[in-house]
Each structure stands twice: as C-alpha cells, then as structure tokens.
C-alpha cells in the first residue's frame, strides 16, 4: 500500500522545485569545534559518528526510515529490522535553502527539513513517517510526498489516556501492519520485546546520565550532553548504549560542585548544530543542569512498561510511553509540563528556569504566559527567551541572561 498525498501533481512539483545545488554545511563543521571544550575522552566516538553521518553513503543492506517527533514509536521500526533515523534538524544553512521553496514566515525547522529533502540529502531513506503533531508537521506530509513515500501518523490533540488510548492503539496497530506489509517481514511479539529491551536499556543509561548531570552539571559538558542526544537520532542503539555507558563511567569520576547558578532549560528542542542558546547561556555564566524538552528528557525518560506481553499489549504500552507520557506542546500537556518543571526544580534545588522559544513556533510561545504565572506563584525565577537560528541577536540575549543570573544570585543572598 503506497500512500501519496498529491498523486496528481507530484511530477509538476518535482520538476519545479528539485535539483537545487547542494549546500555546503558549514554549521556542522563549526559546531564540531565543541569537541575542544569537552573534558571527556570517551566523547570522541559521538563526534566521529556525526562526521561519519555527514559524508559517507549508507550501505545498501540496511533499510533506513526517517521520522519526526518522539510520538513515532521507534520500537515498531526496530522490530521490523529497519533503521530509524530521526530527521528533526535545526541547520541554519538548510533553512536558507528551504526559503527558496517556502515563504520566510514559516517554522525554521520545517524550512530546514524541506531544504534537505529537495536537495536530495535524504536519498537513502525508503520511507518518511510524519506525525500530525503541530500544524506545519501535518503540512510537511504533503510537502514531502513528491520526494519520498510518506506515512502520516496522527495522534490527535487530546493527551488524556482514558479517552484516547484505544484510538492510539488502533493507529499504532495499523502502522505496524503497514510496516509489515511494506517491508515484507513477519515481526511479532518476540521482535517487539527485543526492540523494547534495547530502548529500555537506553532509557536506563539516559536516566543515570540525567541524574548525574542534575547534581554535578560540570561532570558532562552541556554541549557533550546535547551531542549525545543528537547522535541517538541516527546511531545504532546498541552502539549508542555502549558508548554512553563509557561516558557515564568516565564522567562519574569527575564530580565537582560548580559555583555557577544551575538552571533548567525547557521549551523548544535544542538540536545539533544549533547550539546558539547553549553557547549564550554558557557565556552568561549559567549552568544548564537539566532539560525538559522533547528531544532529551521527553524522549528518554519513560520506559516501555510492559504488563500484557501480548502483541497488542506491547503496542498499547508503546502508545502510553510515546503519546500519553509525552510532553509535546501540540497535545494538551501543559499541566504535566508545569508539574514536571516545579517538581524537578524543587527536588534538585535548581536556581531558575530558562524557557527557550524558537521564533515562529507558536505552540511553545502560547503556553509561556501560563507557565510564567504559575512559576511566579511558586517563587521560581523564570525567563523566556525568543530567538531563531541567526546569530544577529547573540549580544542582546547575552545581556538578558546575565541580568537573569544577577537576579538569581541576588535572590540567593
């Protein structure tokens, strides 16, 4: 079953939009310089993995499937012995490329993705899974359908477990059936369990690293932490687990309390190579001790908790992990997010919350007001910053963050 959205106009769109010249990705080359700041030798493997992912062509043997958002269950793809690649990207150069296709006032992530696809960066993918989380993502399914085969997975906007769990299970089951038919495999209970085991191991390691960082943020550099998260988008999970374990072992010996104020970073996801906000935070003298974002915390924190180890039971457990437990602002999850922020801050005695808004991403921005009100009531210092991938406003941001640091420090005394 091949699902295309613009059957009639595919050729027309392709003729007009594709065959743009390939852009040199300077951003990533610059970002790889973060390697020099790292104090852990075991991080080498992750940086090498990023370099390897850039140039080398993929082997013919493996079948790569692209997906967006943590709503899409990796485990189902893994069970069908496919290689999931998460495509969320925040490259500045690719955003520019995307602007030749799309108008300027559109989410930069979507522009970057479109830029990449229409410049044949993702030729090796066999299928792209687009979830209907935010509005631009839903349109992305149609935008990408001329270039690649697209599967559209819609979780709905209501994140209440009781009302929606059957609907979600139904959609995941259909998705799994589609994968089995499309790739001619006979994945069942056993394969699903193996896949869940892999991702649960990853969750366990991530939890350890998260707990270590929240107490001793200096042990693992914030850039290293986000590089680890980014590499998990495309790396083999087993390999990632092994390398992350090594990093954890090495970092555990380097526990030292820093005097910098510890903050929690929430809001839009920060994805390699766009480490601008991290850079500015670092310069302003704030230490990011924890994140509550859909790339890091939201993706890894929940394990797949299997109670009914039947095939449908496992799929149901996956919906709980990926949709009901998600913190995606496109679903109705604001209460959950506020609870998480207050709980994390009070439990680990963090000094403040920085909420990062990506310009033109409305869902994150809309809920900022409510978060600010609630945190004010709870006496937690809160700052929301709004920026995009461009480097123009770096100085301005730095001033604001330095002022925030001073507020925190004066409040402490």
């Amino acid at each position: 079953m091949q699902k295309r959205f613009l059957n009639k106009y595919n050729e027309l769109i392709l003729r007009n939009l594709s065959s743009k010249k390939a852009f040199l990705n300077d951003d990533i080359k610059q970002a790889l310089k973060y390697r020099e700041r790292s104090n852990l030798s075991s991080m080498d493997g992750f940086y090498k993995a990023i370099e390897a992912n850039l140039g080398v062509e993929k082997t013919q043997k493996d079948r790569y499937i692209g997906y967006f958002c943590s709503i899409v269950p990796e485990e189902l793809l893994l069970a069908c012995s496919l290689k999931p690649v998460r495509l969320c990207c925040e490259d500045y150069t690719w955003t520019n490329a995307g602007e030749e296709i799309l108008p300027g006032d559109i989410c930069p992530v979507i522009k970057a993705i479109c830029g990449k696809f229409y410049n044949n960066v993702y030729d090796y993918l066999e299928l792209v899974i687009v979830p209907g989380t935010c509005d631009p993502k839903a349109k992305l399914a149609e935008l990408l359908s001329p270039v690649k085969e697209v599967y559209f997975l819609d979780p709905g906007r209501d994140s209440d477990y009781l009302e929606n769990v059957d609907k979600w299970t139904d959609r995941y089951t259909k998705f799994f059936q589609f994968l089995r038919q499309r790739f001619q495999c006979h994945a069942g209970k056993k394969q699903l369990l193996t896949a869940c085991k892999l991702t649960n191991e990853r969750t366990e390691i991530f939890k350890k690293i998260y707990a270590l960082r929240i107490k001793f943020p200096g042990a693992i550099n914030i850039f290293d932490y986000y590089v680890m998260i980014y590499t998990s988008f495309f790396m083999d999970i087993e390999q990632w687990n092994k390398m992350a374990e090594k990093v954890y072992e090495q970092a555990r010996e380097k526990q030292s309390l820093s005097k910098k104020p510890k903050v929690l970073l929430s809001g839009s996801p920060v994805i390699f190579p766009n480490f601008k906000i991290l850079d500015v935070l670092d310069q302003a003298g704030l230490e990011v001790a924890a994140d509550i974002q859909c790339t890091g915390f939201g993706r890894f924190y929940n394990p797949v908790a299997i109670d009914e180890d039947t095939e449908s039971g496992i799929i149901r457990a996956l919906t709980l992990k990926n949709i009901a437990g998600s913190i995606c602002p496109c679903l109705l999850t604001l209460e959950k997010l506020i609870n998480l922020i207050i709980d994390t801050v009070s439990q680990y005695r963090l000094d403040g919350v920085v909420y990062y808004n990506l310009r033109l991403c409305q869902v994150f921005e809309t809920q900022t007001t409510i978060i600010r009100q609630v945190l004010k009531e709870n006496k937690i210092p809160f700052l929301s910053v709004k920026t995009d991938f461009g480097k123009e406003d770096t100085g301005q941001l730095k001033t604001r963050l330095e002022a925030f640091r001073e507020i925190i420090q004066s409040g402490k005394e």
């Binding site: 477990y161 039947t310 095939e311 709980l320 207050i342």
Partner: protein, 342 residues
Amino acid sequence: MLSLILLVYGGYIFKEWKESAETQQSIFPSLKAPAGSISTTKFEKGSILWPSGATPVIENYPPTLVCRFNPKGGMFKACILHFFSENLTWRTQVKYLLPYITLFVFLCFLFGRAWCGWVCPIGTTGDFLTFLRRKMNIPVKRFPANFRKNLSFTGYALTVITLAISTLIGMPNLTRYQCYWFLPYCQICPARLICPMFGLIKPNWKDFSTGITTTFTILAWIVLGFFIAAFYWGRRIWCHMCPVGLINSWFNRGCGIELHKKAVKCIKCGYCADVCPMGLTKMYEIDKDSVYNQTGCIMCMRCIEICPRKGCLTVKFFGRKINVENFIRRKTDAKKVFEQIQ
C-alpha cells in the same frame, strides 16, 4: 506464592496446633451443628458438597478466607460467607461467633482487601489462566466500567440471597429444606470445584439425584464457565462479583494499607490505570495529594510498581512507608519479561 502454599497445604504444618486447639479450651469456641440437624448429613461422603476422599474438617478455626472444601487447607476454616450462612442456619448464639468476627474485622482492618491480590487461591488460579492467555498471544478484553459495576451488584445480590436463604432454612418449621438449600452459594461457587484440586482431591462435580441438586449442578457449571472465561479473556473480572471480596472491600478505605499519590510528580502517562487488573482509574484521575484507596482495589500494588516517576505513588502501612520494589518481583515486571527472552 509462599502464602498460597501455606494456605492450601498449611493443614499439615498446623496440624498439631489444630489438634491442641481442639482438645483444649480455646478462645475460639468449637462451632458444631445442633444435634439431629439434617444439615450434618450433607457432610457425609458422596454428597454434593463433599469432595471425594476427604477427611473431616475440624471446625474450630478462625473464619478467614480459604475454602473449606480443600480438606488439606490451611489453619483457617472457611470464607466469611460460608461462616455466616452456616451459622445462620445452625442458629448459633452470637457470643460464640464474636471471637471469629472480631478476628475477621481485625484482619480486614490491618490489610483491607490485600487478601484478594496476594493469597486468594481462586485469584491465583485465575492469574494462571491469564498467564496462559498471555503466552498464547491473545489480547486482553477490557470491559467498560458499567459492566464491572453491574457485576458487583450481582455479587451483592448473591450475598443477600444467600444469607436470606440461610436464615430461612434455619427456622424450626423449615429445617426439612436444609438437605437441599444448605450453603446455597457454596453449591454454585467455583471455589468449591477448584480448591479441592489444590489438595489433589477430586471435587464432586455432579449430583443428579433430584431436581434441585440437578439445577444447582448446572448452575455451578455455568458459574465455573463464567469464571474461567472471565479470567481467560479479561483480568480479574471474577473478582468484581466475588461476595467474599465484596465484604472485604468495605474495609478498604481506612485500613492499615494506605495508597498515596503525590500529584505534582504525576505526568499523566496512564501506566497505573493501564496495568490495574480491576480496571480502576482513580489513581490516574485525581489531581491533588491524597489517599486513593477505593473499594474495588485488591491491593496488588501493580500501579505503584510500574509508575515511572519515583515518589509519585507510594504505599504506607500505618504511616510507615514501604518500598514496594523490595518485596515485589513478579514475572510480569517489564524487566523480568525481557530476561525471559534471552
């Protein structure tokens, strides 16, 4: 598991204690049928209520909850429903019953309905059926809340009818009905057929001697069929209408075991409501820090075990916090499942 073995085969371990309690004066008086009562004949070999090849059950043991039809059964004699219906028929004086009732209430006050989740032999049988279903990769059926509510009404109705019949046939003019209507619920209870098998004894499957016994036999088969189907397709559906569980559940709120929720920790992932074998959702729904004991809860602690947020759901026993992970290690635990496939 250990508690189950103790309950089912405990008769051997507690044999001496039993005998000493029988001969000496005990605080638990010996309850016997009045002399000349017809009901005593029911206990003779070959009657419908008697498993074949059984030794007589010594009758002066605290009425907690194992089935009396398992003759090797533990130190306890019978379930609370059996106890009431038997003694209502015998018209035993209340002063003899008081020690038993006090003990029952005391145990319920300590543990609430924890019996159902941890030691009940029928529940364990049912869990075994559920285990088989999972192995055969048959998806679980989730029944709507209304259906489960109706089941518990059925359970209450059965309890009331049983007690009413037991009282009626105890009246002096009506004793001749005792030979057919004695222990009416036990005659259709699936435990009567299942529990003897724990003691490796053949239960009495059928009695077609008269019209009434035939009706009871057929009813018992239907109920057994429902019992097996309920455990096979769903999880713990039977427990919604089990009269003993219903009587226990009155003590669930305010018993020694308290289930706490800390609302700020909750991320509404729904794991707790999804694993609940009784299909309860209160622990998912409440939005403030509070105790969430509810009547349907069988205290299996599955929700606490599976909650991904540490400190969100906790259990306290008389104010002392208990770490569930220390003593629960069940096969359905996610980790255990993964160990199996390696």
